[in-house]
């Protein structure tokens, strides 16, 4: 099967054709307010200030990774906090630019030059408009599905997630991996209690040990604060919907990873070296996880929603992915009623006994190819872009 994608100089294919404006700052935000077809990562202006070297490297990996994402046509780097003078070496604009330029994409660094912030914004708007116009000349063309990379989060989980929603995603992941594509799953807390099952599926013993280490280290961090993890995760909405322990949540959550062997463990926002199924050591939070997947190269991200603990549908307005369209899926009949048109995909027919996991999985796979080819997701019809938080781990100073 194929999808209609934008061919990039590095041989990848995009599902969208954005001009990315980074790093985050008032300058980047205002350029994106004015110029259609642009995206920026919305984080605090000076995201690196007072952070460890390791965390600054993570932030740089997110910026560079988003620039390399196939959904991005070209990149405009703008001055952020501390720029124009002293910068941390890891996130220096020139360094970010040269790493993205290796993809062969057009990369521009906005000249701070003379003038105040408003004048810099004005220059950025002019440059971004010209870049968007140039990008628009590119046409989609058929490309093999093995160029697709998809990331998934299961959120607001309830028992329908483990019974139907995640197994449907798992079917899609198996199909994508069989076709030669790349499938990313993660959430380091939500494998605790199920890590032994994932480790058995690792491609080799090294990867198996890495999976076990992620679970162990995450559990040790949780224990170090002296609380029962159940008072934190499963979150109250999970418990209200019938999930009793973290182990139960994890055992249902891993169904989304299908049945294929796990090729490796990725750090947050790290790009996989090959294709196939990968586990990312990330935090489950919506506003963190999706930019991590997009920075790793995902053109499409899935939010597999339980929703049994929801009281209203506001959650559907979260977009959380910056450059990768977010497909909202749910297997909960009640969530379908609450979400209505906002829900992109409903897999609850499995629970209703009307369709099998395989039948619904085939429909979801087709939906993904449709979105990859240009069909908008429901949240893409909004101009709203959520703020994002890069998953950093060290204390701040």
């Amino acid at each position: 099967m194929t999808f209609l994608g934008y061919e990039r100089p590095d041989g990848s294919y995009g599902a969208r054709n954005y001009v990315l404006v980074i790093p985050s700052s008032i300058i980047a935000d205002e350029i994106c307010h004015f110029v259609a077809g642009t995206r920026t990562i919305v984080t605090p202006m000076d995201a690196t200030s007072g952070r460890s070297k390791s965390d600054r490297e993570t932030i740089a990996r997110v910026y560079v990774g988003l620039g390399l994402n196939p959904n991005v046509a070209s990149v405009l780097l703008t001055p952020g906090g501390g720029a124009g003078g002293a910068q941390y070496p890891e996130t220096a604009i020139e360094k970010l630019a040269s790493e993205i330029e290796r993809s062969g994409k057009r990369v521009e660094v906005l000249d701070i030059g003379k003038g105040d912030t408003m004048e810099i914004i004005g220059r950025g708007v002019k440059l971004a408009r010209e870049m968007v116009h140039e990008a628009s000349k590119l046409r989609r063309k058929p490309c093999p599905e093995n160029h697709l990379c998809v990331g998934v989060k299961c959120g607001n989980s309830d028992p329908t997630s483990g019974i139907a929603g995640n197994p449907v995603v798992g079917y899609v992941y198996d199909k994508l991996v069989e076709a030669g594509g790349t499938a990313l799953f993660g959430e380091n807390t939500e494998i605790i209690g199920a890590e032994h099952i994932l480790a058995r599926r690792a491609v080799n013993n090294t990867v198996a040990q890495e999976i076990l280490k992620v679970a162990l280290e995450t559990e040790e961090r949780a224990k170090s604060i002296g609380q029962d993890v159940r008072t934190i995760n499963p979150v109250p909405a999970n418990i209200r919907a019938g999930i009793t322990t973290l182990e139960e949540k994890s055992l249902g959550a891993i169904y989304k990873a299908g049945t294929k062997s796990i090729q490796g463990v990725l750090d947050y926002a790290e790009r996989p070296e090959g294709r196939g199924l990968y586990f990312m050591d990330n935090w489950a939070w919506t506003f963190s996880i999706f930019i991590g997947y997009a920075a790793a190269g995902a053109q499409i991200v899935l939010y597999q929603l339980g929703g049994g603990g929801l009281e209203e549908d506001a959650v559907f307005y979260q977009t959380g992915s910056t450059v990768a369209p977010l497909i909202w899926c749910s297997a909960n009949p009640r969530t379908q009623v609450l979400g209505g048109w906002n829900l992109d995909f409903y897999s609850g027919t499995v629970i209703e006994g009307k369709e099998t996991v395989e039948e619904v999985g085939e429909r979801l796979y087709a939906t993904i190819l449709d979105v990859a080819s240009g069909t908008m997701t429901r949240t893409e019809t909004l101009n709203h872009i959520d703020p994002n938080e890069v998953y950093t781990r060290d204390p701040v100073f």
């Binding site: 028992p159 209690g193 002296g226 159940r230 182990e247 909960n332 629970i351």
Partner: protein, 101 residues
């Protein structure tokens, strides 16, 4: 007859596929195998019902795996949730030398 789903032959709980009221008969299905039991209290959609008598400290099994331990005896047909089950993982409250609350 109300419906519940069993995920694995080793499970001692089933997940309610619809709201079940106390006293109603429940059909717990695993593939073609169906077991019938009576709900001894209300089991809301998505919540778990005990398929057997479970003693205190015994593991609750769903998906063929342990999801936690019974913090009190649970009789067949009763609701299985946080009031009678505790997690075994991530117990920082115990690691610090405290007792299970």
């Amino acid at each position: 007859m109300k419906k519940a789903l069993v995920m694995s032959p080793m499970d001692n709980v089933a997940t309610a596929l619809e709201d079940i009221a106390s006293g109603e008969q429940v059909e717990a299905r695993l593939g073609n195998k169906v077991e019938t039991l009576e709900a001894r209290e209300d089991i809301p959609f998505g919540f778990k019902i005990a398929l057997t008598d479970i003693s205190k400290g015994e593991s609750l099994v769903k998906y063929g795996e342990a999801i936690g331990k019974a913090s009190q005896p649970i009789k067949k047909g009763f609701l299985v949730h946080i009031h009678n089950v505790e997690g075994a993982r991530g117990r920082g409250d115990i690691a610090k030398g405290g007792r299970i609350p």
